[in-house]
């Protein structure tokens, strides 16, 4: 497809379980971002990849959260020992390059709604 694809669209898990959320960026986009959107809030930055490496993971809330992008395309956000407070919509976005003055617009996927019960 032409856009950023995220799977699953919805995920319900029990507290304490491990989950993986997948993001397929737009083909050719080297920059990939994960954001988290809690109910009634704007998205909050989690992590940024340039190619295969995590260039900035300063937004990850704690060490239960981890993300990979081994081949510089698909990315997986992994959450260990999930807690109810992790419930949110996890958004992925990609851009041709990191933001610059020539408008490297970030395109967002539809998100994965994670519910921890």
């Amino acid at each position: 497809g032409a856009g950023v694809s995220q799977t699953p669209s919805n995920k319900v898990t029990e507290k304490g379980k491990y989950v993986e959320l997948r993001c397929d960026p737009i083909s050719g986009h080297t920059a990939l971002y994960w954001y988290r959107q809690s109910l009634g809030q704007g998205p909050e930055f989690l992590i940024y990849f340039q190619g295969t490496g995590a260039a900035d993971d300063s937004g990850l809330p704690n060490d239960r959260f981890f993300a990979v992008r081994p081949e510089g395309s698909v990315s997986t956000l992994k959450i260990q020992r999930t807690e109810r407070g992790d419930s949110a919509v996890y958004l992925c976005a990609s851009s041709l390059t990191p933001g610059g003055p020539m408008n490297t617009e970030a395109f967002f996927g539809q998100g994965t709604r994670l519910t921890v019960v």
């Binding site: 971002y33 704007g42 940024y48 976005a93 610059g100 970030a106 539809q110």
Partner: protein, 112 residues
């Protein structure tokens, strides 16, 4: 650390009326973005404002940027029901060229 505040957070308006959504930000932001989000959908980019005094228009929406006042506005002209959505503004943190900081969003409902 960049902080972005939008107001109002909720806006109910009648079709045909005009209104403005305000976005204040706390420190220098290289660019200012406006996004639209429909329920259950992804964020759709509406405008990118790059410099002081920038004004962009698309249909019934017009966005402007005043970097001295650290203020961006999204003006809605003659609203129609199809504009009902949540609108977010976002800035780019001065120390990076990629990290978007979003406001809480304005939930706009346009009533017939």
């Amino acid at each position: 650390e960049l902080k972005v505040e939008q107001n109002p957070l909720f806006l109910s308006m009648q079709e045909g009326k005009n209104y403005t959504i305000y976005c204040n930000y706390s420190t220098t932001s290289d660019r200012l973005y406006w996004y639209r989000q429909d329920p259950g959908k992804s964020l759709e980019s509406l405008f990118v404002l790059l410099s002081n005094g920038a004004v962009k228009q698309e249909g019934r929406l017009m966005a402007s940027l005043d970097t001295k006042a650290r203020l961006s506005t999204l003006h809605i002209t003659a609203a129609v029901h199809d504009l009902s959505a949540t609108y977010f503004c976002a800035g780019i943190s001065g120390g990076s060229n990629y990290k978007l900081t979003f406001g809480k969003g304005t939930l706009l409902t346009v009533n017939p």
